[in-house]
């Protein structure tokens, strides 16, 4: 990590510097995160303020992407309805690894004000995809969001690429284990679903994106 601090300062000597490949890679990854924008409700309005010049989210090196294929992490900002849950899962699966999830606001964290009577609301996105950083608030202040973003950058910085576990502190190891466990659970669930689908394609647990119009018209 010593190198990281030096990289953030203006380098006066010119020419050459030494460091591990891992540090440089992680530094580059954490400082040029591209995010998939997934604005769903009023948190997305706060997110617009965040992107505007006063708070200037882009100084973190982030660029909004509208395609999951180009995104490093996804910001789930707003109420995820059950209708949208399947789409969110599809988008997450289309993202390239390593991928991260930042859950913004009470609704995405736990269902928010719909936690009891919301028959149509997903009570937390961590029920379908593994979440790395939760930002509380309804909606969160931009400062709170930035703290979450800094947490995410730290997480990316601690991600080892070679000889992962040797140089990590106990806390970092716990965080990494938790993340790995979440990923493992998610993969297992996915494999189970694929298995189910192979056995019987009609069992596919996704909502129908379109309907057979001829059936509807013929009925009435």
């Amino acid at each position: 990590m010593g190198l990281l601090n030096r990289l953030d300062q203006p380098y006066q000597g010119g020419g050459i510097f030494l460091g591990t490949l891992e540090d440089i890679l992680n530094w580059g990854r954490s400082k040029s995160d591209w995010y998939l924008q997934f604005g769903l409700a009023c948190c997305a309005i706060e997110f617009m303020a965040l992107n505007a010049s006063h708070f200037d989210f882009m100084r973190f090196g982030t660029i909004p992407r509208t395609s999951p294929r180009q995104a490093d992490f996804i910001i789930v900002s707003g109420t995820v309805t059950l209708k949208m849950a399947d789409r969110l899962k599809t988008l997450y699966e289309q993202m390239a690894e390593p991928r991260y999830v930042l859950s913004m606001g009470s609704c995405a964290n736990s269902g928010g004000p719909y936690w009891e009577y919301g028959y149509h609301v997903l009570k937390g996105v961590d029920r379908i995809i593994p979440v790395d950083v939760y930002v509380p608030g309804c909606p969160p202040r931009p400062e709170a969001f930035f703290e979450g973003m800094i947490k995410l950058q730290k997480l990316i910085n601690t991600q080892a690429i070679f000889r992962k576990r040797e140089n990590m502190t106990k806390e970092e190891l716990e965080a990494l284990d938790l993340r790995n466990k979440k990923q493992q659970e998610y993969t297992e669930r996915l494999l189970k679903e694929i298995e189910l689908y192979r056995k019987n394609p009609e069992n596919l647990q996704y909502s129908k994106y379109s309907i057979d119009l001829s059936k509807v018209y013929n009925k009435g």
Partner: protein, 158 residues
């Protein structure tokens, strides 16, 4: 035109279909009618030179506990008067004629009422769910609706 005058004019033509008229200071005056005369009455309200109700402000479904119902809020752009129609429906067989051919606004409103209350609008060109997913079961705004435990393998209650 006042609501009372509208009611009296309608009464001369649709005597057997009109059930109740209520004028109150606290709520909009409404006319309660039978479902059978709804299309004829709506055509009359829209096309008669004395009424000219050309604007359907709102159409909503209701669950009164025992019965279901539909409420229509009408407004006339020319005369600037308004009236509310109410229809009560049987809970077991909630079927009502559509007013989509009279006011096009009713198209999406009727789909919503169908989605939330399960009221069938006969003659609607495209009566499918509009808010909830197409494979949703039950009608969420009914008072006896029970939230499902699972939807597509996702646990729904908190």
């Amino acid at each position: 035109m006042e609501a009372k005058e509208i009611y009296e004019k309608l009464l001369s033509k649709f005597d057997d279909g009109i059930l109740e008229f209520k004028e109150d200071k606290t709520i909009d005056p409404y006319i309660k009618i039978k479902a059978e005369i709804l299309p004829d009455l709506c055509f009359e309200l829209r096309d008669n030179e004395d009424f000219l109700f050309d604007y359907l402000i709102n159409l909503t479904g209701m669950d009164y506990g025992k019965d279901l119902g539909v409420v229509y809020h009408l407004y006339s752009m020319k005369y600037k008067h308004r009236i509310v129609l109410k229809v009560d429906l049987n809970r077991e067989n909630p079927v009502i004629p559509s007013v989509e051919m009279i006011w096009k606004t009713a198209n999406w409103h009727e789909r919503e009422a169908y989605d939330m209350f399960g009221i069938i609008f006969e003659g609607h060109p495209f009566l499918v769910r509009i808010l909830t997913p197409y494979d949703w079961e039950g009608y969420p705004l009914r008072k006896d609706y029970v939230t499902p435990e699972y939807y597509h393998g996702i646990r729904v209650p908190y």
